[in-house]
């Protein structure tokens, strides 16, 4: 009902003196701040923020919100992102003052309930991983990767082994090489084979005693479980290297197989994916890491520990890498993950993965006759279709299809990732969608495939805008409003 669809900015509607929030009068008998602080530290005037009334503020942002697609309004099959439904009860629990209004540095004695929850979460995530200990600290998956790689570096340094390389499949997410570089490693790319899995020959050819870590995503970004995993981890371990799991795809294997059981030494979780932290239009996330016993001493500090006196934050970790952020963790997201796991229990967690895989396979089956799916006709929780033939034959690109889907009220799949599939359309339906939704989505895709190419190039047709000029945005960057 946002019929204006005006793109007026807060700054353009600002009027000096308008405001949406009033503050109390000063109730303490001390002089004004100008007399308490040195004049040269003071600004002449406060920052030139916009001035808007409360109604205009609310209307502005409420109307903006309706210009988003979101899980709560649309099917959102964004591959690799696990856009499952985020239960409302989690939001209610996270807002409890006894959880939301805790200071991060308050004494352990005054937050035993919080520490209990976090301690449980450490243990639960270790159990699901099949690994020995968990640090909840990292703020997102990428920071989990960094933290774990720093742990690996510290581990090898402690063992006095000079290992400088991290091997990464070419199908991996961009954060993997970026994190490896940040952790001070050289990255080496490993090819995918025809099945979309790790090319063992390539791996073996690049594996040597300089190898610190092999980072694998399993199921991988093509939605395939790499059945060579035992061989792979065996190879790495024989070389004295560690195997890291990018856990972004844990949604496919909860309670079915555990990374620790298939040879993984360290991994991160994306709690905001697998365990329903709402994605918040780009975060917050939470990226705990789980590791095998020998790596525990190097984990970031603090961990939550339990003694007969209750729970406490354990900072006494002399070999720890330190910390990758201030304060304990993205507790608000962990809390939602905790609620989720507690709601599901052992069977429920397994059901999640079974249904995620079922849904993905169902959609794949509905589409595979119509679309090119390079890597087989079975998948785990997601699959990657390709528009390469459509592109060749009818000049229809993955982007065209993605944009046109918006007209049908569906968010687009992930496109052009993984890089190993040309014109990739990476589709992850998640377990929370119904068969009817999947069918309607498949119908839409099939219909789109038959549409006029020019019509598709111009899509979307029914949204408030169509095909923003991204080149212009990047070449002549306008990154802020100016008066």
């Amino acid at each position: 009902m946002d019929k204006n669809q005006s793109t007026e900015l807060l700054f353009e509607m600002s009027h000096p003196g308008r405001r949406a929030h009033l503050l109390p009068q000063c109730d303490v008998p001390v002089p004004p701040a100008a007399e308490l602080l040195p004049p040269d530290a003071l600004a002449d005037a406060p920052p030139p923020l916009p001035g808007v009334s409360e109604i205009d503020l609310i209307r502005h942002f409420t109307n903006l919100s309706t210009r988003n697609m979101s899980i709560d309004t649309n099917f959102y099959p964004l591959g690799s992102c696990t856009m499952k439904y985020n239960p409302k009860r989690h939001e209610r629990m996270a807002a409890l003052p006894g959880l939301a209004n805790l200071h991060p540095l308050q004494s352990d004695e005054s937050c035993q309930g919080m520490l209990e929850m976090l301690w449980d979460m450490q243990n639960i995530l270790a159990e699901i991983a099949g690994l020995d200990a968990v640090s909840l600290q990292p703020a997102a998956g990428a920071q989990g990767e960094l933290a774990a790689l720093l742990v690996a570096a510290a581990y090898f340094r402690h063992k006095k082994e000079a290992r400088t390389r991290v091997l990464i499949p070419d199908s991996a997410h961009g954060t993997n090489p970026a994190s490896a570089a940040l952790a001070g490693f050289d990255t080496v790319s490993i090819k995918s084979n025809a099945r979309g899995l790790v090319d063992l020959a390539d791996l073996q050819s690049k594996l040597d005693d300089r190898t610190a870590v092999f980072m694998i995503t399993n199921p991988n970004t093509l939605g395939l479980f790499d059945d060579q995993i035992a061989t792979i981890t065996g190879l790495l371990h024989k070389q004295g290297a560690l195997v890291y799991l990018d856990g972004a795809n844990m949604n496919a294997i909860l309670g079915i197989t555990r990374p620790g059981d298939f040879g993984i030494d360290m991994m991160h979780y994306n709690v905001h994916k697998t365990f329903t932290g709402p994605h918040g239009a780009g975060g917050p996330g939470s990226g705990p890491i789980a590791v095998r016993k020998p790596l525990i001493p190097f984990l970031p500090a603090p961990l939550v520990a339990k003694t007969e006196n209750g729970f406490h934050l354990d900072y006494d970790r002399p070999l720890s890498i330190g910390r990758v952020r201030s304060f304990f963790a993205n507790v608000g997201i962990l809390l939602r993950g905790y609620c989720y796991i507690r709601t599901l229990g052992p069977k429920g967690l397994r059901d999640v993965s079974e249904n995620a895989v079922l849904n993905a396979n169902y959609l794949l089956s509905r589409l595979k006759a119509e679309f090119d799916v390079p890597h087989g006709d079975r998948c785990m929780h997601e699959f990657v279709a390709s528009a390469r033939n459509l592109r060749k034959e009818r000049k229809i690109s993955a982007m065209d299809i993605a944009k046109r889907l918006l007209d049908f009220g569906y968010h687009a799949p992930t496109v052009y990732f993984p890089l190993v599939v040309p014109e990739a359309l990476m589709i992850e339906p998640t377990e929370t969608e119904s068969k009817e939704t999947l069918d309607a989505f498949a119908d839409a895709l099939i219909k789109i495939k038959g549409e006029d190419p020019q019509f598709l190039h111009d899509a979307p047709h029914t949204l408030m805008l169509s095909r923003p000029d991204e080149v212009k945005a990047a070449k002549e960057p306008v990154l802020r409003w100016k008066p």
Partner: protein, 453 residues
């Protein structure tokens, strides 16, 4: 569904997983809870904590009990915002994109700098990202100079991030509660990528930012400042005193303390460094009809394009909290931010004035301070604070955990939310627990007793 897929059972879908790698037992996690029992369980956990609602909170150190206007929760609670992903598809994400563009603009306004990204994780890793950026910008890998008065956890984070990289972190002591420019001058050299200070610093004290900026500049190093977004309601903005990169913890801008996260990392810089900035950037453009709109831009800096050569590894950032900060800043406006800063300053000074009237209690540093200050105590600190907590005050942070030399010191923070009555109550609690005889006892509830049973 199985029929269409062409399998007999769901188990068939998992046949790619070698049988010997499968888990042959249920996960050892607690049994399922329905919503009623989950709610009860969480309420019970919450009741085992003493929150800032149960005991007025005078803790600071990077997280503050500022007031969160209801409008922030109202907008942050719009599920079209909080259940969307990163705005990859611009047509389906104009709500978030426009909001982030407004956020970036307001962060520029707040910092007096030219460019802001769309958020980082939190204050600590933002310092690290700023330093990494300074290294790329300057091409210097010799060292990074940082004041000891920077938040100890931010410094630890920086050290962790740099552990396997070339530059050395040189930490300059701040025995008088601030970085002496003379000391800085000695440390900064031609290999120094940047000088990092926090202003107001971890002790609440002001730094000699203008002098330090000049010193950095003189040596071609960047000046990186971690600032308090509330403080710029009255204090000069980083751009005004010569910061090249400003970072901050944005929790204070409408986000709950939440035991430490999720929070919001802010990062703004001068125009020439824009292509080295880490994280998402939203830019304005036009669509094919010429209509103004917004997109994620300059993505070639980022990991999903540039991979190991990216400016940062960050992917998921803190979108929802950037939105909340934008709503907060727009709600308070210039005047509200000023009043908030003013109230914090005055209430902190009132608290310091009253607390230092107690025998043996002294301001540890003779420096101007903003909303928190450091007190030297005549009694062992942790036990003292624990006893005052029994009187329902989060009375301050014991500094000894980070600064052994300050083992007798407490850091006290006061926000605009604290009333005079609460401050007087705190002073009375200190008075009693310090064993001073005074007149304030009647302000107090007995230990362990609720104000309202």
């Amino acid at each position: 569904m199985l029929r269409l897929i062409g399998v007999e059972s769901i188990a068939d879908l998992f046949k790619n997983i070698p049988p010997d790698l499968r888990l042959d037992r249920p996960l050892a996690v607690p049994g399922a809870l329905n919503e009623i029992d989950l709610s009860r369980h969480m309420v019970e956990l919450a009741a085992k904590n003493r929150s800032a609602d149960d005991a007025p909170c005078f803790l600071g150190g990077g997280s503050y009990d500022h007031f969160i206007p209801a409008v922030v929760d109202a907008i942050g609670g719009r599920s079209e915002f909080y259940t969307a992903y990163t705005p990859y598809q611009a047509e389906a994400s104009q709500g978030s994109l426009q909001a982030f563009y407004e956020f970036q603009t307001m962060i520029c306004q707040l910092t007096g700098l030219d460019v802001s990204n769309a958020s980082l994780y939190e204050g600590g890793s933002s310092v690290a990202e700023a330093v990494l950026m300074a290294m790329t910008v300057t091409g210097r890998t010799g060292k990074v100079v940082i004041a000891e008065s920077v938040h100890p956890e931010y410094r630890k984070t920086l050290e962790t991030y740099l552990a396997n990289l070339v530059p050395r972190v040189e930490t300059l002591p701040t025995p008088h509660g601030f970085l002496d420019p003379d000391d800085a001058k000695k440390a900064i050299d031609d290999t120094t990528a940047c000088v990092v200070v926090q202003h107001p610093n971890f002790f609440g004290c002001l730094e000699e930012v203008e002098a330090l900026a000049a010193l950095a500049k003189a040596k071609g190093a960047l000046f990186v400042v971690s600032f308090d977004p509330i403080s710029v309601g009255i204090l000069k903005r980083p751009g005004q005193y010569g910061a090249d990169i400003a970072v901050a913890e944005g929790q204070c801008l409408g986000n709950p303390m939440a035991y430490g996260g999720p929070y919001l990392g802010l990062l703004a810089c001068r125009e020439p460094f824009v292509r080295k900035i880490p994280g998402r950037l939203v830019g304005q453009t036009v669509d094919r009809h010429g209509k103004r709109c917004w997109v994620l831009t300059m993505q070639t800096r980022e990991q999903h394009i540039r991979r190991e050569k990216a400016t940062s590894n960050i992917c998921t950032n803190q979108g929802l909290f950037a939105l909340r900060a934008a709503v907060y800043l727009a709600a308070v406006g210039p005047q509200g931010l000023k009043e908030t800063a003013e109230l914090c300053t005055r209430k902190a000074h009132y608290a310091a004035q009253e607390l230092t009237k107690l025998p043996g209690v002294k301001l540890r540093f003779d420096r101007p301070y903003f909303k928190e200050f450091t007190l030297a105590m005549p009694k062992p600190v942790p036990a003292l604070l624990s006893r005052i907590l029994g009187r329902k005050f989060h009375a301050g942070l014991p500094l000894g955990q980070w600064y052994p030399a300050l083992a007798a010191c407490v850091s006290v923070a006061v926000t605009e939310k604290r009333s005079r009555e609460e401050i007087d109550g705190l002073v009375a609690a200190y008075e009693v627990e310090l064993g001073a005889s005074g007149h304030r006892h009647d302000l107090l509830s007995k230990p362990g007793e609720r104000l309202l049973a």
